[in-house]
Symmetry: none
Subunit: 189 residues, 4 copies
Amino acid sequence: MNKEQEICNHALGLFAHYGYRKTTIEDVADAMGMTKSNIYFYFKNKQDLYEKTVAGALSGWRDSVAEAVAAEQDVVEKFRVMAYRSFEYLRAHSDLRTILEKDPGIFTLTPSEDRFREVNMGAMEILKSIIEQGIKENRFHRVDVQHVTEFLFSVYIMFLIRAYVKSEGSTVATMYEEGVELAVRGLRK
Amino acid sequence: MNKEQEICNHALGLFAHYGYRKTTIEDVADAMGMTKSNIYFYFKNKQDLYEKTVAGALSGWRDSVAEAVAAEQDVVEKFRVMAYRSFEYLRAHSDLRTILEKDPGIFTLTPSEDRFREVNMGAMEILKSIIEQGIKENRFHRVDVQHVTEFLFSVYIMFLIRAYVKSEGSTVATMYEEGVELAVRGLRK
Amino acid sequence: MNKEQEICNHALGLFAHYGYRKTTIEDVADAMGMTKSNIYFYFKNKQDLYEKTVAGALSGWRDSVAEAVAAEQDVVEKFRVMAYRSFEYLRAHSDLRTILEKDPGIFTLTPSEDRFREVNMGAMEILKSIIEQGIKENRFHRVDVQHVTEFLFSVYIMFLIRAYVKSEGSTVATMYEEGVELAVRGLRK
Amino acid sequence: MNKEQEICNHALGLFAHYGYRKTTIEDVADAMGMTKSNIYFYFKNKQDLYEKTVAGALSGWRDSVAEAVAAEQDVVEKFRVMAYRSFEYLRAHSDLRTILEKDPGIFTLTPSEDRFREVNMGAMEILKSIIEQGIKENRFHRVDVQHVTEFLFSVYIMFLIRAYVKSEGSTVATMYEEGVELAVRGLRK
DNA sequence: AATGAATGAGGCTTCATTCAT
DNA sequence: TATGAATGAAGCCTCATTCAT
């Protein structure tokens, strides 16, 4: 179907493997069995291709998490599920993971330069609304929502990404679990 | 005096600001007030310049930490000092920090591809000998030294680096302090 | 039509005149009225351009000889015609001649490093099949075909090429004629 | 002793192995255990170094031949000895041989561009005086001395050089012997 | 005699991008 | 939609050569 998306899917793997600079438009075209110039029919330029590719991958991640969260009622469970689904998703999608490793700027939340604000904001929104709900239900400490959200979001992203650098599987999973429980304890009354 | 070092110092800032790819040999030469070709008198090629630049910066970091650690007797204090000096050093040396952010591969400790093994190993050695001393003096749990060292090193590096991505100063510092205390509690009997 | 060939034709003259090293891709591009980079659309790199250029020229030579040989029935005539057409062709194509002079490695028949084995083998095949036919028809001595072929080929190539170094026309032609007759007498029963 | 000569000796091997273009001044300096710049104390530039190196090697060749010729009385023997000593010398000095193969221009006897006229003329002089002596003693045909000399010189040079390209030792030697006898018969009454 | 340091010119190659078809 | 062909800008690197010491 949507060829634009198809291109992004192929590009994702290449960007993950070779990085932005070393991935050429021709690489992408070759992978698609089309020509360089034809890529320009679908995307304005290389930057555009990259951003749409990454944005698409981030959306998939966020949607997967949002869906899992929506299925839970209890706010603590929501928090746990959010954390686990995130972890699980990245484990399964190594291309996205690699890109996140290689381009740390993706999560630079400084408003002025965030190329993926839209998606990132969406992800943070999930976390934020969980915290808000927890506070409203009087199950979480009355923390500064915005700051705590940003803090947790940044720790959690960095943890997720870096977790895989060394990664022997079980160790990482355990490490992650403990981190999550720590956060839960820190929040819960 | 040592012009090689002088070049590295200038290069550090440029690599930090523009990244490896966008920094040209000419940029470095201009910054030094010399010609492109003269850079090649001191370095084999761009890669060589980059690696020596980074290695130099990492050495400075490691030495600063080593020195601080050596000045302490108590093993718990050594651990704390190591953590704080590391933090402090990176805070003060934003070029190194930025490079570390931009090139996460610098800390990929997989033996096969680590371009800075020598320096990294030196840094890990500091941590390792503290843990060993703590165990010998019966003040630390009898943990698996190698594994724990690698684990702590990797967490600590990722933390240090990522801490600055958002960074509003006080928040980060507090966050870091708590992390350190956590580790101390985890180790101490 | 075939622009690749067109480029080779221009390149041949330049390589002949300036030699491999001194001929720049830009020279070739200029001669074609196109840009440097466009040359790279047709050839992988300078080496590739050179090799295809030389191979093309050698093929032209070989084909011209093969055609002349095929038109004769008598095996002795075939041999003579082969020799004279070769001579004639080189006389008329001074670019190829010059390149052959400048790059003696073109005829280094050591299997391991011959860049033009395919073409060279084709040329030797012509000679070889003449000798074989001569022996089968009982008009040539029963010599060791492979060795004699290689020997004659190497003498003949060296003669052809070097003949032109001094070359005052008539002298060379006479010299050549005598050499040919010598070979004929040596082979013929 | 003479360091200039020492440099030439080292340069000879390098020029033979890598060719003029690919041999850098630094290669030569390294081989001598000195620095690039110091080479310029002894030679005007790379071209100068090359020419003096080749000229030196050619002189050695010519002197060796001249010496052998001088030791003979009989003019036919002189001719034979000249040929054999030449062959022998080149067989033993593969560097010179290789340079002669790689730079055919060395024997381009066109007065206008011969960079080694002096040496070449010296070599031809040996041959010429033998022929003159043979004629005076009425043992050689009364040929056109200048032309015959040039012709024989050029054939003989080309033969010597190319003989080694394929070369399986005995074959080459036999081939050469026969060629020499042919020339002798051609000259002798 | 010798060196370290510097330079300039030149050449190869890559690649994003455009354009006519 | 899709392609082949073309371009320009940019960057890396080599090397002969020079100069001050």
